[in-house]
Amino acid sequence: MTLRAFRRGTQSLGILLGVLGATGIGMTHLIFPGLHCYACPLAITVCPIGLMQHLIISGTVPFYFLGTVAAYGLLLGRGWCGWFCPFGTVNDLLSFRKVRFVRALSPLKLLVLVGTGVAAWRLADTWFCKLCPVGSLTASLPYLGLGVAEVNAPFLLHLATLAAVVGGMVLISRFWCRYLCPMGGLLSLFNRVSFFGLRLRGERCTECGLCARSCPMGIEPHRKINSADCIKCGECVGSCPTTALSIGFSLPGARGRDPLRSAGSPPRADGVPPRQ
């Protein structure tokens, strides 16, 4: 089985967990390791960002949320985005144009995260939920079908957000995961220190740039290995002609988990990621 096929399998598991409520299992206290609206009629897990907002609104420090997210982050880091998150999978399916990552926009998702928390704290409202494209897809639209929701201003706002994000995903691969996802931002803090990650054998790397060309996030894995924006999807591993890259569980800080010392030297002419 190829790495990609294996990943499709785990992504399917992510979708399955998202709709497990269809079996009649009620809501649990488990936090979903990705972005998935708990208002979804089929959800059995709690959305981490939604929970964070509710706990902040209720005036509690969200220890349960922090502990769970830290555990998730330490286990896979942003690997959850690449291997499990259903909305990440939607991003994947619409990844037609693998453009270069704009580093300046990288902190945007952390800004969304902080803004969500501050809005919950200061305005006592779940503002992110009212804009969340995942909520649009998995709650607003289903509830419209169930007759609970109706076409009104909040519904149209939700729909507009979803349309804009889907448009962004079509134009830029993993657009949501790259720049806007607050859960991705949170998990990115643990990316270097997580037990799941990429490893690079420096002696085998020819810096051909093929890994960068295959990366849906538009980064250069051999230079930014396990960086905050790497979703550890393993696409680069499959594209590496010299098998310099590998992915799996290893100890943080182990050999090969950090970028090449030579990072910064210009890539070979034929390895420059395509400009769109």
């Binding site: 708990y38 939604g50 509710h54 209720s58 349960y64 330490l74 939920c129 709650a139 609970v148 909040p154």
Partner: protein, 689 residues
């Protein structure tokens, strides 16, 4: 220590020997006077709490409940047959089978069905005894009321007179002496026990009562209600009667919002209506226009109203005062039932009102509408008293301490530095304790602290900086103050004994240093960015520990359960299914008129959760609707706490309870969300035949 123990035992034995045992028997019909029977609501469920077989006819609706009397559990089934007849089967022999002969004969009224039954209560530590019980089912509701209390009657002898005594199982649990039970004594010997919740002859089990100049308390209660033992205690002022013919307790307050001082005693010579009300109380609001008319018509002739509000929201009260144009003084404390004036008048329901004559004597209570107008006219027509007739102060007997002094019987002081001794002073009376001074005797340096005034029913903590003694020794905390009742003021000097011991320096209470978890997480994440190699691995382990600690704290604080509960509810405004409504709802004149024109009877149940931002809007709107028409009642149900009820009512979408939602009890119609809510409520009321 042994000597102390022996003294304690002797003291207890002496106390018990002094106690008078009163034998009790089931109260004869009508002996209990004017008090209402205790009433406990009991939720019915779709399934029995224990495995019970039903050998009865087919039923269209089955609802189960269980009566617990001591250690005995009696499952019962409330069934409605296809023809609409409601029946009750009670597993009297507790064999887990409801057979045909366990059907209880009931009596049907238009709105409810009543069943009278007698069960056996088996209190722990007591013998089984017959326990009469009434089950009342408001037709169509998912609950019943249990009524009864199995009153036990006896007589005690005070100064050669026989005084009636009644012990009541107020919580209907089949055991006397438990929380919620009470007793009543005919202290004034008029042959009627004023045992209503606001009656002056009703007492909680911990309260003492006074007959003549002797006070008693209950020192022992037989769990089966066979007897009680009464022990003489220090004099306790009797409760002022709140019945016609007795003077109304003095009321003093600062009018809201103007700040003008108001005193009931200053209104002698006028007919006064003392009215306990609140803006959220539909019947109170319905009575307002009538009161305004009476006030306008008779104020110049000597009619005055004092409105005592039990509101908690200053904003709502202010809005109602402005919109309704209430001209009489209104008291507002924002403390609902804990309002000091409501406590003074022992108010347990509103509207509650007292109509006083020109002497300040209670003449009528709870008059409304035409009856109020009629009695007011009678009182106004009565002769005006001579001005020299001074108001008689309420007779409270001997001056007694009104401040309760709370301080540990043994205080451990660490050697060395001065420490703080906290003394809590609780004012248990409706009078201000003035010029309160607290001092500590028995320590190397005598300390005194001026506390000032402790308001009626208020409390204050006096913190005195004390120096520790050289050796353990006894001392005392002394409190000096005065208080006034009418024109009489009393100086009180009170003290409690304290043993000062030498102890270890005070330690901070141990607990999980949760703040450090956040700092450790932040530090770990920063280091995770900058470190490499083995350092990064160490940080990973560090973060594993922090994550575990954070998770543990979160779970211990109930956040996992909180997460599940939040996820189990669909809050329409939280997830952007509809707009958040946070404004105060207002009914247009046309809507108000339309609601007022509703001639049926409706009960609206508003389901809400604490985190739902639109729920207060729905709650307030329904309250407005109820104000517009007293035929419409409502109740608020926290769907987070009472999820089962919400699900049973069908307030759910895809297994999630939806809030805000309003259930129209009569039709089962459910209104979700807040869009066009008043119009939808109106339409739903139109469906009630």
């Amino acid at each position: 220590m042994r000597v102390l123990l022996a003294a304690l035992v002797l003291w207890s034995a002496w106390g018990l020997a002094l106690g008078e045992e009163v034998r009790l028997a089931p109260a004869p019909e009508g002996i209990a006077g004017d008090w209402a029977q205790p009433l406990v609501p009991l939720r019915l469920k779709a399934t029995p709490a224990q495995a019970v077989r039903f050998d009865g006819p087919p039923l269209a609706l089955s609802q189960w409940g269980e009566v617990t009397l001591g250690t005995a559990h009696y499952p019962f089934l409330l069934g409605v047959r296809a023809d609409g007849q409601a029946d009750l089967w009670v597993d009297r022999n507790r064999d887990q089978v409801l057979s045909g002969d366990e059907l209880v004969a009931g009596a049907r009224a238009p709105e409810y069905v009543v069943w009278e039954l007698e069960l056996q209560a088996t209190p722990a530590g007591g013998e089984a005894f017959p326990y009469p019980l009434t089950v009342l089912w408001p037709v169509g509701r998912g609950y019943v009321y249990l009524l009864g209390g199995a009153p036990r009657h006896g007589e005690l002898e005070v100064d050669g007179a026989r005084v009636a005594f009644v012990l009541v199982d107020g919580d209907l649990d089949g055991t006397y002496g438990t929380k919620g039970d009470f007793y009543a004594v005919d202290v004034d010997g008029d042959g009627i026990i004023h045992g209503d919740p606001d009656g002056h002859e009703r007492f909680a089990l911990t309260e003492a009562f006074t007959v003549g100049r002797e006070s008693y308390r209950l020192s022992r209660i037989h769990p089966g209600g066979a007897s009680v033992t009464l022990t003489p205690t220090g004099y306790v002022p009797p409760k002022p009667p709140l019945i016609p013919g007795f003077p109304a307790p003095e009321v003093r307050f600062t009018a809201f919002p103007d700040g003008d001082p108001v005193a009931l005693s200053d209104l002698r010579g006028k007919i006064v209506l003392v009215d306990f009300w609140a803006t959220w109380c539909g019947p109170c609001m319905a009575e307002l226009p009538h009161l305004r008319e009476l006030y306008a018509a008779h104020h110049d002739a000597g009619f005055e109203i004092i409105g005592l509000s039990l509101d908690t929201s200053e904003r709502e009260l202010r809005t109602v005062l402005d919109t309704e144009g209430i001209p009489w003084p209104v008291a507002f404390e924002g403390r609902s039932w804990d309002n000091s004036l409501a406590q003074l008048y022992r108010v347990y329901q509103i509207p509650t009102s007292y109509l006083l004559d020109r002497d300040g004597i209670i003449r009528y209570r709870d008059l409304h509408g035409e009856e109020l107008a009629e009695k007011l006219a009678e009182l106004l027509a009565a002769a005006t008293p001579e001005p020299e007739m001074a108001p008689a102060p309420v007779a409270f007997g001997l001056p007694v301490p009104i401040l309760e002094i709370v301080v540990p019987p043994e205080v451990s002081l660490a050697a060395g530095e001065p420490q703080v001794l906290a003394v809590k002073l609780i004012n248990t009376a409706p009078y201000d304790a003035e010029d309160v001074k607290v001092s500590v005797q028995g320590l190397p340096i005598q300390v005194e602290l001026e506390v000032g005034t402790i308001p009626a029913f208020g409390a204050r903590v006096a913190e005195l900086s004390v120096a520790p003694p050289a050796a353990p020794q006894s001392g005392s905390v002394e409190v000096v103050y005065h208080y006034c009742i009418g024109d009489s003021c009393f100086q009180i000097e009170d003290a409690v004994e304290v043993a000062f011991a030498l102890g270890e320096p005070a330690r901070q209470p141990s607990g999980i240093p949760v703040g450090w978890i956040l700092i450790a997480l932040g530090v770990g994440l920063v280091l995770a960015v900058v470190l490499r190699g083995r350092g990064l691995f160490i940080i990973a382990l560090w973060l594993v520990g922090v994550a575990g600690a954070s998770l543990a704290v979160g779970i211990l604080r109930g956040q996992a359960t909180q997460a599940e509960r939040i996820g189990s509810v669909l809050c329409t405004a939280c997830v952007g299914i509809e707009e958040v409504r946070t404004e105060a709802p207002t009914l247009s004149p046309a809507e108000r008129e339309a609601f007022a024109a509703f001639r049926g009877s409706a009960h609206l149940v508003v389901f809400h959760t604490p985190w739902c931002r639109s729920c207060p809007y729905a709650q307030a709107l329904v309250a407005e609707v109820a104000r517009a028409n007293p035929r419409i009642s409502y109740e608020l149900v926290d769907a987070d706490q009472d999820r089962e009820r919400a699900l049973a009512a069908g307030i759910a979408a895809a297994g999630k309870v939806v809030v805000p939602a309003i259930l129209v009890a009569e039709t089962g119609r459910i209104l979700v969300g807040t869009s066009d809510l008043s119009a939808r409520i109106l339409a739903a009321l139109g469906e009630i035949r």
